[in-house]
Point group: C2
Chain length 117, copies 2
Amino acid sequence: MILNRVVQYQGQLDRTFAALSDPTRRGILERLGRGRATISELAEPFGISLTGLKKHVQVLEEAELVRTEKVGRTRWCSPGPQDLDAVQRWIAGYRLMLDERLDRLGELLEGTKGEQG
Amino acid sequence: MILNRVVQYQGQLDRTFAALSDPTRRGILERLGRGRATISELAEPFGISLTGLKKHVQVLEEAELVRTEKVGRTRWCSPGPQDLDAVQRWIAGYRLMLDERLDRLGELLEGTKGEQG
């Protein structure tokens, strides 16, 4: 069961990082952060086809970064349930590890100076 | 010149997010955060071929997340100059936007309640 959770967590990180690796998809999220929009409203500023935009929205939906809802003939897009907490924590953890590594390196260098002086 | 910088910034985000979208590559970074390692040392715990591992290291190098140095016949890998500051800021900005959106939504709902009450 724990292994299952690890696999799910890694899969979520994979999908989220991959979804964020495209400037149009990041642009869509930035736009939706200001309020919901239709597929056509999203496509216009990026100058891409509706089909191209729908593919990007689908990738974002699979990563739960966007949710869509059909009202009549219009599909509305808004931010999904994924709040980027997991990826933010992964990045923060890695940066902390780098900082500690630099601290240890600094201590090592200080030690060497002491020996030389 | 400003446009150039925007393109460079977007390209850096693209490469970084794509590099982080694979569990083996994230594992390599976690391992290197504890200290430098050779290609063989990195390959072992992941149970993948040296060729497979080298490809992952190359993707990480292109994103400046890993630097490698050849000493004699051994190639050492260590964390690169990219400290994930740009991606962390993008994520924090998006989350802030979501929070503000929820706040506005909350205010709207409060307003509706007032009207009804």
